[in-house]
Each structure stands twice: as structure tokens, then as C-alpha cells.
């Protein structure tokens, strides 16, 4: 059987594979991806990776600086705090709380938000209006403020803080996914699939979902970044993780009065938050560009 393809070695790549091959050529984004994998591994296995228990106090070694500064000890690579607790161990556990919490929020909010957004976009009439405009009023309130309001109802604790942030980020996500799906619905191949007699679920699964990758990466990235910032902020304000939980924001808050004695204690958690957000954005932006190039 003849075919124009002179060498039959060229494989037919599926769009996802093609996007992946473009993504692999973007070295910064690939590095960012591996850093994210490392961070996730750290947050999963923090208890086994850390050299000391994050709560182990050592009265002989209080306020040690990192080991590369004079007076530091290799036992405590990033130094210790005012009760002699190891900073590195506390940082790893902090990443577990902050990054892990943000991942959980992103996972649940994206599933719930996407299904409500799809339900609003794919139905018509009163049902769509209710789904679509139900949470619109909440959009007027900044999400951090609505999280604060919710947490005053629930009472401050780490789980309640995750719940409040998830609820406060949900309206934005519903709105964004609704807009993405709504735009897609006007495309001709969706109309053609509808004329084939496809039901809504099939339409969503095969027609819409593969074609909204680009807006989805953007809104997921925004959701994740917002979640990290809000967990850290609520922790800093004392509404999130409670002692002895070592969330990154609460680490900064607890060590604020020591900032002149030992600035490291504030600098490391702050740097960790900063690096996580930068790395995730570099990764997501690389992915988004790969998706755009792959769709051309």
C-alpha cells in the first residue's frame, strides 16, 4: 500500500505526545518540572528525610546560624531557632503543609469548579443561570478577605484554613472554566459533533476537554499560586496552622521577633515560598507555550 510518506519511520504523534516533545526542548521549564517533582517528594516523605524531629528542642544549641557561617554546625545545616529546633527539619515540614495543602486545594477545586463550569456552559436557561451566577457576588470580595470571613465562622485551624481557601477560590475557577468552555462551544467541530448526536458528556470528554488545554493550564497555575500565597498569609496571620504545626507562613510569624538576632529564621521560609511560586510559574508558562506551539 502506497503512501506519500517516503520513509515509514515517522510515527504519527498524538497531540499530547507532540506537546510533550515540544515541552522537552524547553530546558528551563524541564528543570522547573524536576524541581517540582523534588519538592513534591520532599513534602510526601518529609518525616523520613529530615535529620531531626521538627519539635526536638536542644537547649545547648540555640539560635545557631547556618553551617557556612562562623559558629554554625554541620549537625544543623540551616541552623536552629530560639528553642534549639532544627530549621531544615522545620522547613521540610513547612513545605509539606504549604505545598501539600496547595496541591490538595488545586486538585479538589479544579474538579469541582470544572464540573460546575461545564454544567453551566452545557445547559441552558434557569439551571445555567443559577450555576453560572450563583457565586458571582462573591467575586466582588477579594478571595483572601472571603477566606478570612469564612475562617472566622469555622474557627482557626489548618484544615479549616484549607477549606476556607478552597471555598474562596472556587468562584474564580468556575468563572474561568465557564468562559473557556463557552468559547469552545461556538467552534464548528463542536457543532458538528452535536449534529452527530453526541450527548453532553461525550461532547465534553472528546470535543471540549482536549481543546481547552491552554486556558486550563493558565487557570490551574493561577489557582495553585493563589492557594500557596493564601495558605502562607493565613498562617502568618495566625488563622491557619496552629502550633506546633510548622506551616511556612506561621514559621515566619513565629520568628518575627528574632529577626535581628537571627535573620535566617525568617529568610529561609520566605525564600521557600518565593522559590515554590517562581518554579511553578516557570513550569506552567513553559507548558502553556508548548501547548500553544503544539496546537499551531
Amino acid at each position: 500500500m502506497l503512501i506519500n510518506n517516503g520513509f515509514n519511520e515517522d510515527k504519527i504523534q498524538s497531540p499530547l505526545r507532540y506537546i510533550w516533545s515540544i515541552f522537552k526542548s524547553k530546558s528551563i521549564a524541564v528543570v522547573a518540572m524536576w524541581v517540582i517533582v523534588c519538592l513534591i517528594l520532599i513534602s510526601l516523605f518529609a518525616s523520613w528525610l529530615v535529620p531531626h524531629s521538627p519539635l526536638l528542642q536542644d537547649p545547648d544549641k540555640m539560635l545557631l546560624p547556618p553551617y557556612w557561617v562562623d559558629g554554625g554546625s554541620i549537625d544543623h545545616v540551616l541552623g536552629t531557632d530560639d528553642l534549639g529546633r532544627d530549621t531544615l527539619s522545620r522547613l521540610f515540614h513547612g513545605i509539606q503543609y504549604t505545598l501539600g495543602g496547595a496541591l490538595l486545594i488545586t486538585f479538589f477545586v479544579s474538579i469541582i469548579g470544572m464540573s460546575i463550569g461545564a454544567g453551566a456552559a452545557l445547559t441552558k436557561g434557569v439551571k445555567a443561570s443559577i450555576l453560572h451566577h450563583l457565586l458571582d457576588a462573591l467575586l466582588a470580595i477579594p478571595s483572601l478577605l472571603s477566606a478570612l470571613i469564612l475562617i472566622t465562622f469555622f474557627g482557626p485551624s489548618y484544615v479549616n484554613c484549607l477549606l476556607a481557601i478552597a471555598l474562596s477560590l472556587l468562584p474564580q475557577f468556575i468563572r474561568a472554566s465557564y468562559l473557556a468552555i463557552e468559547q469552545e462551544l461556538n467552534k464548528q467541530y463542536i457543532i458538528a459533533l452535536q449534529l452527530d448526536g453526541a450527548a453532553k458528556t461525550r461532547l465534553f470528554r472528546y470535543g471540549i476537554l482536549p481543546n481547552i488545554l491552554e486556558p486550563t493550564t493558565t487557570i490551574l497555575n493561577r489557582l495553585f499560586t493563589m492557594a500557596i500565597i493564601e495558605i502562607a498569609t493565613l498562617g502568618f496571620l495566625g488563622f491557619g496552622a496552629q502550633l506546633p504545626q510548622t506551616e511556612l507562613g506561621s514559621l515566619i510569624a513565629n520568628n518575627m521577633e528574632l529577626i535581628y538576632l537571627s535573620p535566617w529564621l525568617v529568610a529561609f521560609p520566605g525564600l521557600a515560598i518565593f522559590i515554590i511560586i517562581i518554579i511553578v510559574n516557570v513550569f506552567a508558562e513553559g507548558l502553556r507555550h508548548a501547548v500553544i506551539e503544539g496546537e499551531e
Partner: protein, 259 residues
């Protein structure tokens, strides 16, 4: 015996916002009535904005009519299930590069209508797909391809295959010839005529080019501002146009005029 397709007093109007709260009805076309017999080709011509695309989309089921009725083999379209409607009326969209899902292989695109509308099993479906590809002149190798890997001609062939795969009675063709250059246009026209000969399908054609329309169609219907201004057999209309609009349309395709 009732005719294959009978459209009676079909009307469609869109609501447009007007003023602060009011809305204004803008009539797309209608009332329009005509009939189509098996194996016939009806061409719908008219200037842009005359409602031809809206008419075709209403018959296909993309838009719903405000008034009037469509009968297929004597049954009103309101009483037919969407499956039966799919099997008897299929549409080819204007631009195949936007009407084929870029994330699905040709095989899956062609599989979807059979899977949704018939009770064939996977093997019979594959057989049907191969037959249809042969009908439009494509090799089975193309089944694993994605639409962006095909040339515009091949995309048109796939779009025709998707319309033909359910062996429909009527195919609605929405200006597919305008985006093609002249040699490919003839290829597609010949392909469509060949399919009509072998399968006895009826076409409703939306077109601009009066020469091609004369070549292909048995009947011509001229629309102007949503109303039928002239209707009749092709020779009659091309040789002896009555209405001003028809004369204009014929005039724009006179070779001397275009110099």
C-alpha cells in the same frame, strides 16, 4: 407518495437587543416553502445576508425554526428522534479545517456518528469507515492521521466522508467550494456528482458561483432578504431570469463583466 423533503412556511428570526431593555426581531428568512425529490440537487443562491446559510442550518438542526415545519418522507421533523434525523439529513460545513476536531484522529472522527446513531459493532463500523473512505477516494492509512496532517483537499474529502458515512438521504452543503482554488473545486464537484450517481443522494447546495450551480443542480432557488424571489429548474433560471437579483447574480459571473 410524499416527497423526500418538504419544507412548508419555514421562518426563522433572531432576537436582537434594542434600546435598554427591549428586543427587536430580525428576520433571517421566511416564510420559505419548497420540496426536494430523491436524487435531486437544489441550489440555494443569493447575495450574502440573504438567509441561505440560516436556512440550511435550520434544516440541519443547528438552529430551530420559529414557525413552519420540515417533513422528511412525510414525517414531521418534530416527531422524529434525533438519531433518525441524523441518519437522513447530514451537513457539510463551510470550512473543514475548523469543522474537524484537531485532537481526534480521522478514524475517531468518522467513528463517532456511526457509534452514536447505529447499532453496528466495532468490526462492522470499521468496515463501513473503510468503504466510505474508498468512496471519497482516501486510503485506509489516513485513519490514524490527525486533521492538521492533511491537505485542505483531503480535509474536504474527510468532511464529505463524515457526511456520507450514515448513507443519508439528503446532504446539506454550505458553501464548501468558496475556499478552494479552481482545480480542487472541480475535483470536489466531480466527487460529489459521483457520489450522487452511485448512492442516489439528494443535495441542497449553498453557492455563489452560478456556472457551477448550473452545472450541478436540477433546481435553483434564489433568496433575497429571506424571501424566495425565484424558483425553477436550472436551465429556466439561467437562460431566462425573471427577477432583478437573479440577473445580477448571473451578471457577476459573466466573463466580459469581470474583465
Amino acid at each position: 407518495m410524499s416527497s423526500l423533503l418538504k419544507v412548508s412556511d419555514l421562518c426563522k428570526s433572531f432576537k436582537q437587543p434594542f434600546g435598554f431593555f427591549g428586543s427587536k426581531e430580525k428576520i433571517a428568512f421566511g416564510p420559505v416553502s419548497f420540496t426536494l425529490e430523491k436524487g435531486e440537487t437544489l441550489a440555494v443562491v443569493g447575495e450574502s445576508g440573504s438567509g441561505k446559510s440560516a436556512l440550511v442550518r435550520t434544516i440541519a438542526g443547528v438552529l430551530t425554526a420559529n414557525a413552519g415545519d420540515i417533513y422528511i418522507k412525510g414525517h414531521s421533523i418534530r416527531t422524529l428522534s434525533s438519531q433518525k434525523r441524523c441518519v437522513s439529513v447530514r451537513m457539510i460545513f463551510q470550512d473543514p479545517s475548523s469543522s474537524l476536531n484537531p485532537k481526534m484522529t480521522i478514524g475517531k472522527i468518522l467513528n463517532a456518528p456511526i457509534e452514536l446513531n447505529t447499532s453496528l459493532d466495532a468490526k462492522q463500523r470499521y468496515q463501513r469507515i473503510i468503504e466510505t473512505l474508498k468512496l471519497v477516494g482516501l486510503l485506509p492509512d489516513y485513519l490514524a492521521f490527525y486533521p492538521n496532517m492533511l491537505s485542505s483537499m483531503q480535509k474536504h474529502q474527510v468532511a464529505i466522508a463524515r457526511a456520507m458515512i450514515l448513507n443519508p438521504d439528503i446532504i446539506l452543503v454550505d458553501e464548501i467550494l468558496t475556499t478552494l482554488d479552481i482545480s480542487l473545486r472541480f475535483k470536489i464537484v466531480n466527487l460529489l456528482l459521483k457520489i450522487q450517481q452511485t448512492k442516489g443522494t439528494s443535495y441542497i447546495f449553498v453557492a455563489h458561483n452560478m456556472h457551477l450551480v448550473k452545472h450541478m443542480s436540477d433546481q435553483i432557488m434564489v433568496l433575497h432578504q429571506g424571501k424566495i424571489v425565484e424558483k425553477g429548474s436550472s436551465e429556466e433560471i439561467c437562460d431566462n431570469p425573471q427577477h432583478e437579483q437573479t440577473k445580477y447574480l448571473l451578471l457577476t459571473h459573466q466573463p466580459d463583466y469581470r474583465k
